[in-house]
């Protein structure tokens, strides 16, 4: 049985929050000197924007937590409005797991709602 070659680590994957091209990488700094000054002056603006983004994200996640086990009305495309008990969201907010989904065809005991079809949702606190 041959020994497998050892590796220091696995290749780094994409950052889910950005498109990459780190402006602080040696290559960027060497090849794009004209953008250096603009990025340092807008540094403060970027920090403020990041803070706001973090705040919004935290509010969104807390809203999802509050929604758990509550009756929620979902406003969806094609003028679809349905009510269900919200269970959970998946990590990428692609699907919502719901129970007792009230549809024109009857009540679906367990269902997944595709998030990209949801325009808005509302619930009582």
């Amino acid at each position: 049985m041959k020994t497998p070659v050892s590796v220091l680590r696995l290749p780094r994957g994409p950052d889910p929050n950005s498109r990459g091209f780190d402006p602080n990488s040696p290559r960027f700094l060497a090849l794009c000197p004209t953008t250096l000054s603009s990025s340092s002056s807008s540094g403060a603006v970027d920090e403020e924007e990041q803070r706001l983004r973090s705040d919004l994200r935290e509010r969104f996640l807390r809203t999802l937590l509050l929604m758990t086990d509550k009756q929620v009305e979902f406003n969806m495309h094609e003028k679809v409005r349905v009510r269900a008990r919200f269970g959970a969201s998946d990590i990428d907010v692609l699907n919502f797991q719901v129970s007792g989904l009230e549809t024109p065809l009857g009540v679906q005991k367990e269902a997944l709602l595709r998030c990209q079809d949801v325009i808005s949702c509302s619930f009582e606190l």
């Binding site: 050892s6 590796v7 220091l8 994957g13 990459g20």
Partner: protein, 329 residues
């Protein structure tokens, strides 16, 4: 002591990887670009596979991607009927070139001043990147969709492979076909090696090598399965090929003998290329991953570390990651 190859899996794409290209060797190393049906081509550091950035903008599957020699520019060909030129340092989109149909292939000249495109409208186009508003030079002749178009012979000629089962060599100035090769099957891939003027073509289960000037056949090698892509090592001692059976094959170029085959991908291999220094080769697959493979298995290079038997059991091995039998993508 013989060691088992540990491929490095680069994840991030969510659909099949259909094309990949390396840059030349730059003061910052070399780079790799991957074209994916998810519409988001990615730039990676060539020797480690580390993600650097994603080029965002295409609205359809990206079928072809390339970098210029210095890795300062990238070009992509997509199903949204456009080819795009990007700044490969900032990731910004620099130019969008509208076409009349799906674009499949893009290639820069050595000086990065001209971009060659080819696709489903069967016409080769040459764009002057210094005057991008000007109409491109057009070369017609193929009777079906163009799969791949490459500059060759000092950027004076163009090689194109199409679904009409021909490969044609064109003179850029006269716009005429100087040579035509006809095949019984569709050509699945084409690679041009400027140093040595060799053309590597795959079709069916065959990997064929031609002289890029005369289009004379040098040799052919048959593989155990249908091959989608092959690449010749810069020193022309080996070539690698991959296709339908998910395996990567390594052959001795001189003797044509199969030396090794590697399993690892979970889907057919669509593209494989050697790095510019020949130390590794990268493969892109239907399974949505890119994998990096060592040419000299066990050598210290990039993320691979040569470990002597005493080191493996010593206290100092905590920096090393010894992969289990199966590495998941």
């Amino acid at each position: 002591m013989a060691m088992r190859q540990t491929p490095l899996t680069c994840s991030g794409h969510t659909r099949p990887v259909v094309d990949l290209a390396f840059s030349g060797i730059t003061p910052y190393g070399y780079f790799l670009i991957s074209a994916c049906k998810d519409g988001k081509p990615m730039l990676r550091q060539g020797d480690t596979g580390d993600w650097i950035g994603t080029f965002l903008g295409h609205k359809g599957a990206v079928w072809g991607a390339t970098l210029n020699k210095e890795a300062t520019k990238a070009a992509t060909a997509a199903a949204d009927f456009t080819a795009k030129v990007w700044d490969a340092v900032t990731g910004d989109e620099v130019l969008t070139l509208a076409h009349k149909h799906i674009v499949k292939s893009v290639n820069f000249t050595q000086d990065s001043n001209f971009l060659l495109t080819g696709g489903n409208d069967k016409v080769l186009r040459i764009y002057d990147l210094i005057k991008p508003e000007a109409d491109p030079q057009e070369i017609a002749g193929h009777t079906s969709a163009i799969k791949k178009a490459l500059w060759c012979n000092n950027d004076q000629q163009i090689l194109s492979a199409a679904d009409d089962k021909t490969i044609r060599l064109w003179d850029k100035n006269t716009q005429e076909a100087v040579h035509t090769l006809s095949f019984d099957a569709s050509v699945t891939s084409m690679e041009y090696i400027p140093d040595g003027e060799i053309l590597v073509i795959t079709y069916g289960r065959t990997i064929a090598f031609y002289n890029a000037h005369s289009l004379d056949l040098i040799k052919t090698v048959d593989a155990p399965a249908s091959i989608h892509s092959a690449s010749l090592h810069p020193e022309k001692d080996f070539f690698v090929a991959g296709g339908d059976d998910f395996k990567l094959y390594k052959y001795d170029y001189t003797t044509k003998e199969e030396m090794e085959s590697y399993k690892g991908h979970f889907g057919p291999i669509h593209t494989v290329r050697f790095s510019p220094d020949g130390e590794l080769y990268a493969s892109g697959s239907e399974d949505g991953t890119l994998r990096l493979w060592q040419t000299a298995v066990g050598k210290t290079y990039g993320l691979w570390k040569c470990v002597l038997p005493e080191e493996l059991s010593s206290e100092n091995s905590e920096v090393l990651y010894c992969p289990p039998a199966e590495i998941k993508a």
